[in-house]
Symmetry: C2
Subunit: 276 residues, 2 copies
């Protein structure tokens, strides 16, 4: 399938360290080489880079690694195609506008027999189940709050309801952000770590690289990194529970809930996860 | 104000030659240094690069110049801020989805007393008159064709009507593309050239660079380049008439019309154009 990487921070932070380890899984330390993408929010603006080359060899990935873009919300994805051809329009993250804000979405999983009714306000451009789910989520949020964006806690509970309706179709690990906060949902596999004062050194699993965050940070910094599999081997990452949906704000989890997964779906997901 | 660059081709073509000359106007040969952006369509997919640095010095512009992305439809923009702060969310081109396709828009001009009624399906993220006009256009096209995309000629005539309603607010040179075709409208200043077999050499105005297209092309190639001001000094560029709207398909103009500009607007535009 694919792998996800997200970052939510209290102050604008560059993701080059985590991205270096993550990008290595796109063809060097792992086989997710069917395209990749990364989205950086800078206030309300969003920069989205996608490429159908592998993240390990793409010139655009090289740029991202060498040009530190500071952001409070980042979502990245490396793809091993399951549904949808290896085409640029099928590369995650996907982007849409809602309530005068850009929204970014990336998915790791596989949805079966999933044919949501889309009224037309959001339509997929590519052929993935993932972009279909994103359109379904955007449509659901807009329908519940047609005028303007509600407070994040209300948004969280509506997202919980929409996620419940989608998660019964299969593996649905995802990340979603509007630049203010990051929502992460796990159906099979997702981990996070909160780094805060006093910061320490971290060593990548996928590349022999160590960074001592203490040298680059202040007490005001706080960073949550969310990834399919832990990126460092000398820190303790927290595993999401199956069905868990977490809202990350200012670098830390602020709301958590568990979206029930029907038993038969959980069983199928466990079988599918073997190949993650 | 700003400058625009567009390319529409019969076969996927790289724009690095034209972009090199154009980007020099973002801080070297001209003063449009308040951000820049470029969008490349690759079939239905779209890659959009934006940066608030000047195009002359941006590392992302360097990547675009050195990594030849082949595309049939490209729109680029360099900005000299008039309305809206120098923020990333105000960098053109802008992107939205309509009928399951990405749409890209960039504008050179200045719209006065322009407050269209937006129902909410498209809302600006930034604070420019340009993104507001793009939302107005997207909403107008969707309202006229709520189900799916009509043939390009029908789209052209609806765009003509929408343009008429906006152009009375001031200078409205723009480019719009959905990846299939490129629509270009001139209210004060826009030029184009069609390059086709037998191709010849071209020399940039803004950089001492010559390319002999004959070495890189076949009879199947045909390229229209559209720009605020001609980019080369040894070719004949065609000037758009004030109000002219042209549809470019497969590298050539296929439909043309003139959207009338009220006399009082034309007079004001001429005064504004002095600072273009």
């Amino acid at each position: 399938m694919c792998q996800l990487l997200g970052m939510n921070c209290a102050t604008p932070t560059d993701i080059t360290f985590s991205f270096t380890g993550f990008a290595a899984r796109g063809g060097v330390t792992d086989h997710h080489a069917d395209g990749w993408g990364i989205a950086f929010f800078e206030d309300k603006a969003c920069r989205l880079f996608i490429d159908h080359q592998s993240a390990a060899t793409s010139p655009i990935a090289e740029l991202v690694k060498s040009y530190p873009i500071k952001s409070k919300n980042v979502i990245a994805h490396i793809r091993k195609a399951t549904q949808g051809r290896i085409e640029l329009e099928n590369c995650h993250p996907f982007q849409r506008e809602l309530w005068g804000r850009h929204w970014i979405f990336a998915h790791n999983g596989d949805l079966k027999d999933y044919q949501p009714f889309l009224s037309g306000v959001y339509q997929p451009v590519g052929t993935t189940d993932s972009e279909l789910a994103f359109c379904d989520i955007m449509q659901g949020l807009r329908k519940r709050f047609p005028g303007s964006q509600p407070p994040l806690n209300e948004l969280f509970h509506t997202l919980e309801e929409i996620t419940r309706s989608i998660t019964r179709h299969g593996v649905f690990n995802y990340m979603l952000s509007n630049g203010q906060a990051l929502f992460a949902h796990c159906s099979t596999r997702l981990h996070y770590i909160v780094r805060q004062w006093p910061f320490q050194a971290a060593h990548l699993i996928d590349s022999d690289m160590t960074i001592d965050f203490a040298q680059y940070t202040t007490e005001a910094d706080r960073v949550s990194v969310i990834a399919t599999a832990p990126l460092t081997d000398n820190e303790t990452w927290t595993s999401f529970a199956p069905g868990e949906l977490i809202l990350f704000e200012a670098g830390q989890p602020t709301l958590k809930t568990v979206v029930p997964i029907p038993d038969e779906v959980r069983l199928k997901n466990a079988q599918n996860s073997a190949c993650l």
